[in-house]
């Protein structure tokens, strides 16, 4: 496995060592060791059922209490896959955007303000600032700035997804996990979300799961290929798509899989 992991000079944001995920008696992710460089976009590609989403969701402890996760997840020198580690704080540092937009049944503003208030930010000026900044970062501000009190459910699918990105960014996380964030969106919305991601790279580490190889090649700096619960290859995106080192990767990206 070690062979496939790129030896880069980049600073690391998070890494996993021998991670495995087990649902009951059904193992989904095997012995996965990966390193994610800081302030880069890393794409995880693979067929459906390859365990890529399951892997992603273990990084911010979304599997707590439902699924067994073994191995290490090292973040800031701490193995955060320990029960003693505060999972709530992990999730504040490692935000997540889901496949289907899931804004709260609240106003646009309150979608951002509610989690902020829970984190002890109550000053109205700070809240307003944070709302504006985050919505701008997610490229949604111009479209909603005049009706922040409108229900978030009245937004279009693409707007809802960018609101969810803004909501995650409002907490000023370090890493942003994105689980097929554009798969439920139309092409125009997809393009907007991708543009947003490229902009975010400057300040955030992004790990995105996608089954769309064009998307991976368009937005990501690094790409890793998952197959049947195992990491097959990790490389700079250009390299992985143009000169894959493993036959299986080549088969997958050229479309003659199986």
């Amino acid at each position: 496995m070690e062979n496939y992991i790129a030896k880069t000079n980049l600073e690391l944001a998070i890494e996993t060592k021998n991670l495995e995920v087990i649902y009951g008696d059904h193992q989904v992710v095997f012995d996965s060791s990966l390193e994610f460089p800081r302030h880069k976009i890393t794409a995880i590609i693979g067929a459906s059922g390859s365990g890529k989403s399951t892997y992603l969701r273990s990084l911010n402890r979304m599997h707590d209490k439902t699924v067994t996760v073994n191995g290490q997840i090292v973040y800031r020198g701490v193995d955060i896959n320990q029960p003693s580690v505060n999972a709530y704080e992990v999730r504040k540092q490692i935000g997540m955007v889901f496949q289907r937009p899931n804004p709260f049944a609240k106003s646009i503003r309150n979608n951002l303000v509610f989690p902020l208030k829970e984190n002890g930010i109550t000053d109205k000026r700070v809240l307003d600032e944070r709302v504006e900044e985050s919505l701008k970062e997610a490229a949604l501000w111009d479209e909603v700035k005049d009706d922040l009190n409108k229900s978030a459910l009245e937004l279009s699918g693409g707007q809802q997804q960018r609101l969810c990105i803004a909501r995650a960014l409002a907490l000023r996380p370090d890493i942003l996990l994105m689980d097929e964030p554009a798969s439920a969106l139309d092409p125009i919305s997809t393009e907007k979300v991708e543009a947003t991601m490229r902009k975010l790279r400057r300040n955030y580490t992004i790990i995105i799961v996608t089954h769309n190889m064009q998307q991976a090649s368009r937005v990501s700096d690094f790409t890793t290929f998952f197959h049947q619960g195992r990491v097959v290859e990790f490389a700079p995106t250009q390299e992985l798509f143009q000169t894959p080192r493993v036959k299986m990767t080549e088969d997958y990206i050229s479309g003659n899989f199986g």
Partner: protein, 300 residues
């Protein structure tokens, strides 16, 4: 940097919130469980006291027909017979109506008709039982008197009142059962040239039979336990009914009439608690029946 690492390793406000939240919810469900257990316990101990303390035989209680606890006669058969009588009769009348309404809502007019009948059913559920009793007293009992002579009080009047009361229960559960029949059954049957009624009768009703049975059992459970509406029209005479229009008494009516007029700990009072225990046991039996039907339906 280190501040974040620090936060990762310490419990936070959220940790405490979750501990407290889990405790609150466990406490509530625990209270309900304790409540159910104490209901079973208290009613059982009171209800059995007649057999242990007053030396009454269970068989005498269940099968003798003379009820006069003041004279140590505690044959509950008249009440048992009457309770089952009104329950079965009410279910018998209600079931065809319930199936008709449910079919109308699912097969005939699933849109506007169903919405209208949904409102009708919900309103029927909402009407309090004393009002059913009141109308039974004012309308059903005189009607029985005119048609069959006598006082008009009795099993038939009770069954008529109960029929309307259990109708919504049976109907809404039957609707659920019919809706659960996969639509390709319907389409396959119609495609084979069957008429709508043949499809309903041979395919849909047959597939929904376990569900409909469950609905009827639920209806019967409600009828068996209903107290005031029945008490108002049954006549309240604790003797074996001669026919459907002679005054009699159900377990529930005997209980409601008697408990206030007896002294705690005496035989007449204990005898009433035994009736209550019988009611409780029947409620459990209906519950188990529903489970059995569900299991059987699944295996098939």
């Amino acid at each position: 940097m280190d501040e974040i690492k620090d936060r990762l390793l310490k419990p936070s406000k959220a940790t405490k919130q979750d501990q407290r939240g889990r405790m609150i919810s466990y406490l509530s469900i625990g209270l309900i469980a304790i409540l159910v257990i104490s209901i079973l316990y208290f009613i059982a101990t009171r209800g059995l006291s007649m057999f242990f303390n007053d030396g009454i035989k269970v068989s005498d209680f269940l099968f003798k027909t003379d009820w006069n606890p003041g004279k140590k006669l505690v044959g509950a058969l008249p009440m048992i017979v009457t309770s089952f009588g009104v329950t079965l009769l009410a279910a018998l009348i209600a079931t065809p109506f319930a199936i008709a309404v449910a079919l109308f809502m699912t097969e005939f007019a699933p849109k506007r008709g169903a919405r209208f009948l949904q409102v009708v059913i919900e309103l029927l559920v909402g009407i309090p039982s004393v009002i059913y009793g009141l109308i039974g007293l004012a309308v059903v009992v005189p009607a029985m008197r005119i048609m069959y002579g006598g006082t008009g009080f009795g099993i038939l009047a009770g069954a008529v009142v109960l029929f309307v009361m259990v109708l919504p229960t049976i109907t809404s559960l039957t609707v659920d059962a019919l809706k659960a029949v996969p639509s390709h059954y319907r389409q396959a049957s119609l495609a084979l040239g069957a008429t709508r009624w043949q499809t309903i009768y041979k395919v849909i009703l047959r597939a929904a039979t376990p569900g409909i049975l469950t609905a009827v059992v639920f209806g019967m459970a409600r009828a068996f336990g209903e107290a005031l509406a029945v008490q108002m029209v049954i006549g309240n005479a604790a003797m074996l009914p001669h026919n459907l229009v002679s005054p009699s008494a159900t377990l529930t009516s005997q209980l409601t009439m008697g408990i206030g007029n007896t002294i705690m700990g005496t035989l007449p009072n204990n005898a009433l608690w035994s009736l209550a225990l019988l009611l409780l046991i029947m409620a459990l039996v209906f519950n188990i029946l529903v489970k059995l039907i569900a299991r059987k339906g699944r295996i098939k």
